[in-house]
């Protein structure tokens, strides 16, 4: 039996199945959470009818609704580009999940360059956004797409720089290695307590969260989809299942980036006091709990703040986040060398 499961092809199939199902499931759960949480914050009830009084089937109903809609493509649209744009955005969200460890040996593929791979793949979605904005043959979409491109490119840099501090502290770019570094931080003194990197890399954590909100185009950085100005920005001309891809991709990206943040800063699948085999079983639940806290914070921000204007957004990225994260890297490096 164990041989069966350790066969490469069986594991490959399992991983593909998990990857294919995790995105819709996670997307729906996070979408439902957003609806209910925002309702509570606004003294409303939220989804109520679908699936009994709790309304849990609302997202499923929405998914079915999107799927059965007519596939409309604007007459002037650039057809192949139009069709491939949502796929690109969704694929980049899924691909980020590959190196994320759910347990010490529960990982799709433990890449040595985990951090590098993740950051590189997450910037693929920028191309998808530009493709969507350009190919829609609509002035609003074009403006939304250009705004999005500017914003996403601007915030790539703080995202990357924020992570460099963690890499310096952990000494490795592999995500599993980073979690183990947090777990075993005080092991040379014999403590099994460990230290999540957020305690010392709080600057990096803050910059990472802000930059990931911008990468997700969520309020306060949702100029590209500014509903009250550009109708829906680069997504205006999409309907039906293509829109569903964008919709799911937003929540999937939320999950992916929160998972990265939880792994890098909060300790990932590890809590003090559990042995390795126990972590293999409970690890996913622990990771999901940490991800849940971060996702809750993102939803909370969305319904509290208004949105920044494009030039204010850019000046925050270039004038504030990049210098702050550079200083963070310097200080981390100096302290690491001094402590050694």
């Amino acid at each position: 039996m164990a041989d069966f499961f350790s066969s490469f092809w069986v594991q490959l199939v399992l991983k593909l199945v998990v990857a294919a199902t995790i995105i819709p499931v996670v997307g729906m759960v996070i979408g439902f959470a957003e609806m209910k949480l925002s309702a509570k914050m606004q003294s409303r009830v939220g989804p109520y009818f679908a699936g009994g009084r709790w309304g849990w089937a609302q997202l499923i109903a929405d998914g079915v609704k999107f799927f059965q809609k007519e596939d409309l493509i604007p007459a002037e649209a650039d057809r192949p580009v139009y069709k491939w744009a949502p796929a690109l955005v969704l694929v980049s969200a899924v691909a980020i999940l590959v190196p994320i460890p759910l347990g010490p040996s529960v990982v799709a593929r433990n890449l040595d360059l985990g951090v590098f791979y993740v950051l590189a793949v997450s910037s693929l979605s920028t191309i998808g956004v530009l493709m969507a904005g350009w190919s829609s043959a609509n002035k609003y979409s074009l403006m939304g797409g250009l705004r999005a491109a500017g914003q996403l490119i601007a915030y790539e840099l703080p995202l990357i720089l924020a992570v460099v501090g963690v890499v310096i502290m952990a000494g490795t770019m592999s995500l599993t290695g980073i979690v183990e570094a947090q777990a075993g931080w005080f092991s040379e003194r014999g403590w099994s307590l460990g230290m999540p990197f957020i305690l010392v890399q709080f600057v990096g954590f803050g910059v990472f969260i802000i930059a990931s909100l911008a990468e997700l185009s969520r309020i306060p950085f949702d100029m590209p989809i500014a509903e009250s100005e550009l109708v829906m920005g680069y997504v205006t001309e999409y309907s039906g299942f293509r829109f569903l891809f964008f919709f799911l991709a937003e929540f999937a990206n939320m999950f992916s980036l929160s998972a990265i943040a939880a792994t890098l800063f909060l300790g990932g699948y590890w809590v003090p006091g559990l042995s390795e085999s126990q972590l293999n079983i409970f690890g996913p639940a622990i990771l999901f709990a940490k991800v849940g806290v971060l996702v809750f914070t993102m939803i909370w921000f969305r319904w509290t703040f208004p949105r920044f204007r494009e030039d204010q957004l850019q000046s925050i990225a270039w004038k504030w986040l990049v210098p702050i994260s550079l200083v963070n890297i310097m200080v981390t490096a100096v302290l690491k060398v001094a402590a050694a």
Binding site: S38, M41, Q42, S43, R44, K139, M143, I219, P220, D222, M223, A226, E227, S228, E229, V231, W303, T304, F305, P306, R307, F308, R309, E310, D311, Q312
Partner: protein, 396 residues
């Protein structure tokens, strides 16, 4: 030598390609748009994110009120005109009724005047709460919408309990107010006054409104992003505002201490003490803050009026068929959106000969071409929202 010539030619070509101007894009904002307060269309020539020229196109809601008024009687017109500025329904009727009463030289009983005043201030609170709800939504914050509208429901419920209508009360009559709870011809003998629970419920509602103002101020006023989006945006100097006829909170935000409630006598405001909030810079932030302060002042006025309302008849003695004697007059009032006035030309008939309606939002948005020149597109939305206009008021 050859190298230099190549260099020069390369530089010339480079400079030409840099100077290739991209043509301006003409962007149509509206008439269907999530945030233009109705069917307003802005034809904007944009260069990237910056506009060069903005022309508003109005008239999508023109209903021909002035022409219709020439073929209607005064009570019929009262039913029509509260649809001009539908957000503050009751306040539209007041200047018209006062103009007709001036021409008839009627003395309106005090109780009726107090009731008119209370309902007008409730209309002001209702209109400003709609602004509190919709303006942060246009900037992206979705939550103040629900807080403001939740408490607006209380005020609208009060209005409904007295007048029977939330938005179109049609409650004024020439000479006073309508006896509450209906009086068709069969029940005309049965004059009913305000509902019994109206006064205590109003006191509760005003306390609740004041608490909501504090809540909204906490949520919105301290928020850095809102300040960044509204401070210094859309500055209107006081002399430009006066020249364009900007009135109401827009004018007061530019620093002009002018409120028709203090200087005109269309309603007994001189019996109550209240302040006039004034802005300093004339930007979007000041226009928001002046309206929030005005809600507080209106609640204060209502509390004083409710405590001091006199007993008495609700309507002066008027003949069954109202004929307003010959004359002309212009009466203006401080409506929530600004100055609303009616120039009534009467020839002694059952309806006016000419009724000119001066609506606040018409003049308020006539400043848009001046102020929107050279702004960024997100700022267009911020500035337009801060002027707080309603298309029914613009187009009549």
């Amino acid at each position: 030598m050859v190298l230099e010539k190549d260099l020069v030619r390369h530089l010339v070509e480079a400079s030409v390609s840099v100077e290739l101007a991209t043509p301006d894009m003409t962007l149509n904002i509206g008439p269907q748009h999530p945030s233009t307060h109705g069917v307003l269309r802005l034809v904007a020539k944009v260069d990237g994110e910056r506009t060069t020229d903005v022309q508003p196109v109005i008239g999508y809601m023109h209903r021909g009120y002035e022409k219709i008024s020439e073929v209607r009687t005064y009570p019929q017109i009262t039913a029509l005109i509260n649809r001009i500025d539908w957000v503050s329904g009751y306040a539209n009727e007041i200047p018209f009724i006062v103009a007709a009463e001036r021409l008839m030289e009627l003395e309106v009983p005090e109780r009726a005047q107090y009731i008119r005043l209370i309902l007008t201030e409730m209309a002001r609170i209702s209109s400003h709460l709609v602004f509190m709800a919709s303006y942060p939504l246009e900037l992206g914050a979705a939550t103040p919408l629900f807080f403001a509208l939740r408490d607006r429901e209380r005020v609208l419920d009060l209005l409904e309990s007295v007048t029977g209508g939330r938005f179109h009360p049609n409650f004024n009559r020439i000479g006073g107010v309508k006896p509450a709870l209906g009086s068709g011809s069969a029940t005309r003998k049965m004059i009913q006054d305000l509902p019994k629970t109206f006064l205590p419920e109003t006191r509760d509602a005003m306390d609740r409104v004041l608490a909501t103002c504090d809540e909204i101020e906490d949520l919105v006023a301290g928020n850095e992003i809102i300040l960044a989006r509204t401070r210094g945006i859309g500055v209107i100097p006081a002399d430009v505002a006066a020249a364009y006829g900007l009135s109401g909170p827009n004018l007061r935000a530019s620093g002009v201490q002018f409120d028709l409630r203090k200087v005109s006598d269309y309603l007994p405001y001189d019996k109550f003490s209240f302040d006039i909030p004034i802005g300093t810079a004339g930007d979007c932030w000041d226009r928001w803050y002046v309206r929030l302060a005005e809600i507080r002042q209106s609640a204060r006025i209502i509390q004083q009026a409710v405590d001091g309302i006199p007993a008495g008849p609700l309507q002066a003695k008027v003949p069954k068929v109202i004929k307003v004697p010959k004359g002309e007059t212009y009466v203006r009032a401080e409506n929530p959106k600004g100055e609303m006035g009616y120039y009534l030309v009467s020839d002694g008939g059952q309806g006016p000969y000419r009724l000119k309606i001066r609506s606040a939002s018409f003049s308020n948005i006539s400043i848009l071409p001046w102020i929107l020149e050279g702004t960024l597109i997100p700022d267009i939305i911020a500035i337009m929202g801060s002027l707080d206009f309603v298309l029914g008021d613009v187009d009549r």
